[in-house]
């Protein structure tokens, strides 16, 4: 009762096994390998992307921080400048107002003086006229008009109050 070694059976089994090997390679191992590789790649890509995004975020964060700092500095500068300008403007406005006020005062004084002179002049004329009228009425025809006037003017020349102006 031998071991049963038999060449046809051996070859048949060999062919069967090789068919199985081929079938498993083409329907089993290859698609699975492909799928596993694809999945590994996907995961790797995803992780790389996440890493890149993280780095980008970090960079953006730094840039934003920098810009905020810069903006703050700039703002500070602008405020300082504005304050300076405001101070200057205030000073200028104050000076101008003072000047204007002074000019106004000056003008008013000149005006007032002129007005006073005029009033004095008018008063003198009026006084002269009134005096002439009064003298006419009192003296009446003792003196001619011209003689009168000369007399009065002479009197006025002598009086101290009207002499100065």
């Amino acid at each position: 009762m031998g071991l049963g070694l038999d060449l046809p059976t051996f070859i048949g089994q060999l062919v069967s096994f090789l068919i199985l090997l081929g079938l498993l390679v083409y329907f089993g191992y290859k698609p699975i390998r492909k799928m596993l590789d694809e999945r590994a790649n996907r995961i790797k890509e995803g992780m790389e992307q996440a890493e890149a995004a993280k780095q980008e975020y970090e960079q953006a964060k730094v840039a934003v921080q920098e810009q905020i700092g810069k903006a703050r500095e700039e703002g500070q500068g602008i405020i300082t400048q504005a304050t300076q300008i405001g101070d200057r403007l205030k000073e200028e406005a104050r000076g101008e107002a003072r000047k204007e006020a002074q000019a106004l005062v000056e003008r008013t004084r000149i005006e007032l003086e002129r007005e006073r002179d005029k009033v004095i002049d008018d008063l003198r004329h009026e006084f002269v006229d009134t005096a002439i009228l009064a003298a006419e009425k009192v003296i009446n025809e003792t003196l001619d008009k011209e003689g009168h006037r000369k007399l009065i003017e002479q009197a006025m020349e002598e009086s101290t109050t009207f002499k100065e102006n």
């Binding site: 009762m1 031998g2 071991l3 049963g4 070694l5 038999d6 046809p8 059976t9 051996f10 048949g12 089994q13 060999l14 069967s16 096994f17 090789l18 068919i19 199985l20 090997l21 079938l23 498993l24 390679v25 329907f27 089993g28 191992y29 698609p31 699975i32 390998r33 799928m35 596993l36 694809e38 999945r39 996907r42």
Partner: protein
Amino acid sequence: MAKKKVLGCSLNIIIILSIVFLVLIVVSFIGGSVGAIITGGEPLSIFAVQPPHPQLPAEHPFPNLPITNTMITAWISILVLFGLFFAATRRMKLVPRGLQNFVEFFYEAAANFIEDPAGKEYGRKFFPVCVTIFLFVLANAWINLIPGFETIKMNGEPLLRNANTDINVPLMLAVVSFCFVEYWGFKAHKATYLRKFFNFVPLGQGFKKLFTGKIKAGFGGIAMGIIAVFTGLLEAISELIRMVSFTFRLFGNMTAGMILTLVMIFLIPWVVPAIFYGLEAFLGFVQAMIFGGLTLCFLVVAVMSTDEETT
């Protein structure tokens, strides 16, 4: 009744089950062939198991066809494996589910097992042959464990029989393993691979020294050269012997398991053979693992060996 509360239901059930199993074992033992011999009567009809008459060559269930029952079983194994992988990879998704997940889990485990010693590059090349050998041996061993598998008769012969118990199958696997080992070894080292088996270089150097006048060094060199040739011869023989050891390890284990199970069924028809079924399932896995693993191991050695010598 009061105890039931304290110890719980499960213990009672265990006790009842053990008693039932024990009774079944005793009844089947006494009623079976052994009991019949002891009492001198006929075994009860339901226990009348035919005494095993194992036969090493595979039977031919169809007298006119050169098809053995082990071949049919091998084809069933192939169909099962192919069906499994085909169903799992038919509509693959990036997010695996069910069968695809299982097959991918197995693939990853096997790939890790192989790439561990062989490295990534060779691991992928060695994967198909090692894993296919493993799966084929495992499928053959486990399909055989389906109850009633070997009882189907056709023309007085069992229609199905564990393909691993047909010596042609282990021998075929051993030859396939051997061919792949030599192929990859030769491919990795080209002609220098042959120097592993036919190493005449030190002998030639010895003769060269002898003819150039260095008598003492020359004889020493020749002695070393003869040793090198002898070592190469031993190497070649050991590679061939590997096939024999491969063949008989699987064939012997599987045949012994089959005979053991048959004998246990004959002696104690009930309950006890179940233990041996579990043992056989484990043994089948171990044998498949050994066959695939050793093939991997020899492949790695064939690819690596001369690297280590030259460096």
